[in-house]
Symmetry: C2
Subunit: 189 residues, 2 copies
């Protein structure tokens, strides 16, 4: 049972919480990050998951709740990851709030999609994905992906993603990151 | 984009409609079925689907809308199927109405689960599944499953499912079917 208002999933076999202190290096503005962290180790997002056996053929479903907030002018977001088993995909259904899905692949392609209640988003095999809360309330979505997909956070941690989602002058803007793009041959090794 | 009120999914790459005339032999009461059909070839359910390539690793998402109605005392429902690739699973999220998920496997195990807005249901690999509208309005749910799963309708068409969901005296009741159970060795060959 998922509560569309709060994103709480019950029963959930697992729950992860990501606080600011667990997201060092994720936000572009390191100085703003340290200032935020000094003030409070805020909860950035939570994920409730089902945990079937991690067998090929099983599917996991989970609910993610990203809270509203910013580090400098960059919206709260997930760490971003590839699936460890690269050739696996994922489906997102947004049930509350407003957000964006940032996608990129190792060839240097990148795109950003809007998410809103009722929106379905498809993450094809081989694409890294991050979600960003661009709204004023909790941003809530359900994901379904193969149980044996696994998570590779390290690749994105190493050089960030190619697109940043920021608030500038009250507007949501998407900018190219100053970080190395894997296409430029400066990032992944 | 899925409209949680109507189940309409836009854009949808595909849409199937199942009318009574396409469901011969599905409902237990053949006489009642023919009487209903003579009156009107009613729409029983619709499915809107995304259609990624049918490759291993891709996922399909779809929205099903089962309309309220009965054939005799048996609620409107889907035909029921196994995945052609048996070792694949599926996740359902109900967004509107009330219903039941009928599950069975070739070993003769069978169960029935409630579905209601916010409910998530897991169909493990190797289980046949059918959904039933037990409410008074459209019963709407989203499904996610592997793109290469395929559909085997024939096995269920051949001998039906082991559980029937009926309305008796204003109540929803689940009864064992009079049809052969595969466990009894009379069904599947």
């Amino acid at each position: 049972m998922i509560d569309f208002e709060t994103g709480v999933m019950l029963p959930a076999d697992g729950k992860i919480e990501r606080r600011l202190s667990q997201m060092k290096g994720v936000f572009a503005d390191e100085k703003a990050y340290l200032a935020c962290l000094e003030k409070e180790d805020s909860l950035v997002y939570e994920v409730y998951t089902s945990t079937p056996p991690e067998r090929e053929g099983d599917l996991i479903y989970c609910t993610s709740v990203i809270y509203p907030g910013k580090v400098g002018d960059e919206f709260y977001m997930t760490k971003g990851h590839y699936h460890a088993k690269r050739g696996t995909s994922e489906v997102y259904l947004c049930v509350g709030g407003r957000g964006m899905l940032v996608l990129e692949n190792p060839h240097g392609d990148s795109t950003v999609l809007d998410m809103y209640p009722g929106s379905m988003s498809y993450i094809p095999p081989f694409w890294a994905h991050r979600t960003v809360n661009t709204g004023s309330g909790p941003f809530i979505f359900i994901g379904v992906y193969p149980a044996d997909a696994g998570h590779d956070y390290g690749t994105i941690e190493a050089c960030g993603m190619m697109k940043l989602v920021l608030q500038r002058g009250g507007q949501t803007v998407v900018l190219d990151s100053q970080r190395a793009s894997p296409k430029a041959g400066e990032g992944l090794s």
